[in-house]
Symmetry: C2
Subunit: 194 residues, 2 copies
């Protein structure tokens, strides 16, 4: 059974976090959320999302049990403040490089894509929320498609692309059939382009 580590922080975009976590669980992926915070002496009960929803993480982020030997995908959601905390964390940056070097997946959505920059990833195709495009376009091959797959780096744009982002992760982790199996009961409106 594939497994996912999904990071969360104060200011994480709660829809991007929830849609990814929930959709992966529907596909049978074992999900663990890990709370990243910028003050190592604070252990709050919950992460307060970008719009005020308080989510209790499964664990606090511990780099030494967060590696690609434990999980098949590392996910970094957006939300400006949350993405800043996560992308500035040197242990997260090191993990991103380690996941990719071990050919495990890394997913980034919205402002979460800033972590591609802070982790020092090589120039490649990538997308993000339009609000952080200017920070990324000189170091990457910037795209505006909803979900960009660049080898094992999967990036996406915002809450509105969170479903296709999550479903792409399902497809890569569990196959096209599982993606279709999960898609049906969600009851997307006719004509939805994913």
């Amino acid at each position: 059974m594939p497994s996912a580590l999904i990071l969360i922080a104060d200011g994480t975009e709660e829809m991007e976090f929830t849609i990814t976590y929930d959709t992966l669980v529907r596909a049978g992926v074992t999900c663990q959320s890990a709370f990243v915070h910028d003050d190592e002496f604070v252990s709050p009960v919950a992460a307060k999302g970008s719009r005020g929803i308080r989510i209790i993480p499964d664990v606090y982020f511990e780099p030494n049990v967060s590696g690609p030997d434990k999980f098949d995908v590392l996910v970094i959601p957006g939300g400006a403040k949350g993405a800043e905390t996560i992308s500035k964390n040197p242990a997260v940056q090191a993990l991103i490089r380690e996941y990719l070097s071990k050919e495990k997946l890394v997913g980034m959505i919205c402002a979460g894509s800033i972590a591609a920059l802070t982790a020092g990833l090589p120039k490649q195709a990538l997308t993000s929320h339009p609000s952080v495009k200017a920070q990324l376009e000189s170091d990457f091959i910037y795209s505006e498609v909803p979900v960009v797959v660049s080898d094992n780096l999967i990036t996406s744009r915002g809450p509105g692309t969170a479903f296709p982002f999550a479903l792409k992760l399902v497809e890569l982790l569990c196959g096209v059939e599982k993606r279709q199996e999960v898609h049906g009961p969600m009851v997307f409106p006719p004509g939805t382009p994913w």
Copy 2:
């Protein structure tokens, strides 16, 4: 500024809850989540969603401060177990009737639409998750469109229709311009039918 009361319980579908709450906050709607539980002596810290995400409610549900004099819309999310707890609660059923009689909005999505039945609402147009259609189709004019507006009762189908559901609530509470203002930064993929 419009205000929304969004119910939550153990087993609530966390995407439907989060997408509605977050989208309404983006539109400037003051949101309060209220934890409904079936044992009045239990006060858990968080509601555990249908896929395991733990969300701390803003308050515990108290019928006497949840009325249409306090909020402009009452929202009932889905998730089979959560919707069952909420829809079986007699105080919730009374509130649904009171909101509608005072011409305030009531939103129900997914299995949350079962509350239309338990509250004894008159026969009218309605939709729900396909899994509970059989329970509703003889008492209502069952529709399969993504969002059904029947006077002040707004119903929808599942996580896949949660964005158009939430945006319809924004439109009704705040107007079409606010809906458009909120829609843009979410970065829906081109061709998204809402």
